[in-house]
């Protein structure tokens, strides 16, 4: 049983990314949306929390915030809204960390 974990808050303002990334089990996936995308920036301190996680990030939310894809931590998938739907379909459950 796999779970898709959604994080939409900045890791520098809330502990959502910390909680989500540490509770995730093997086979689970993490999707960063809205202000959550700041956690995907390689040079930022928060990116260390992503280690060992399967991570996707919303491209339109990156672009809005002026983050180019070359700034992301290694191994992160950049997706669009269709990719979001695919992730929801693919996993058994969705957990939104609000």
């Amino acid at each position: 049983m796999s779970m898709l974990h959604l994080v939409n808050k900045s890791p520098y303002e809330s502990n959502n990314l910390s909680t989500a990334s540490s509770i995730m089990k093997g086979g689970d996936e993490l999707l960063l949306i809205e202000d959550g995308v700041y956690g995907a920036v390689k040079a930022g301190k928060a990116s260390a929390m992503l280690e060992g996680c399967t991570v996707s990030v919303m491209g339109p939310d990156l672009a809005a915030r002026g983050i180019s894809e070359d700034k992301l931590a290694d191994g992160i998938n950049v997706i669009d809204y269709n990719g979001f739907v695919e992730l929801v379909e693919k996993n058994d459950k969705v957990q939104s960390w609000l």
Binding site: G44, K45, G59, A64, R65, G66, I67
Partner: protein, 136 residues
């Protein structure tokens, strides 16, 4: 009788699109500029993200208000403080931010940098010297 000029400081601590704070702050700053006060603006914590260059909101259906920061100099808002520790924690440098300038009419409209990179301690000193603080 004209009232005394006060030192107004607007403190921005939120990222630009996840909440409405950043945009609202910008509106209030511009309204405040019309009252001819001594205005400063500070960006710290997630607020530093507001000044990131290259913002393109076409994919999220929201207005990109980031070009407005470049107009602050025309409203005589020339003191923009950016906190160093907040940039570092987020893996950002001044190069990742817009280059904001103002024109000094006392020096033949010479273009000068508006952004002042300060440490948290220095920003604390700046805050201590203000008359009125607005938080967003």
């Amino acid at each position: 009788m004209a009232e005394e000029t006060k030192k107004f400081m607007y403190i921005n601590r939120k990222a630009p699109y996840g909440t409405i704070y950043a945009w609202e702050a910008l509106e209030v700053v511009l309204i405040g500029a019309a009252f001819e006060q001594d205005v400063s603006v500070a960006f710290m914590d997630d607020g530093v993200y507001q000044l990131a260059k290259g913002q393109d909101t076409s994919g999220i259906g929201m207005k990109n208000f980031s070009p407005t920061y470049a107009a602050l100099g025309d409203f005589e808002i020339t003191k923009i403080y950016v906190e160093k520790e907040s940039l570092e924690e987020r893996g950002l440098t001044l190069d990742d931010l817009q280059h904001l300038v103002w024109e000094d009419e006392d020096e033949d409209w010479a273009e000068k940098d508006s952004i002042r990179l300060v440490s948290r301690a220095e920003l604390g000193d700046v805050l201590a010297g203000q008359d009125v603080l607005f938080n967003f």
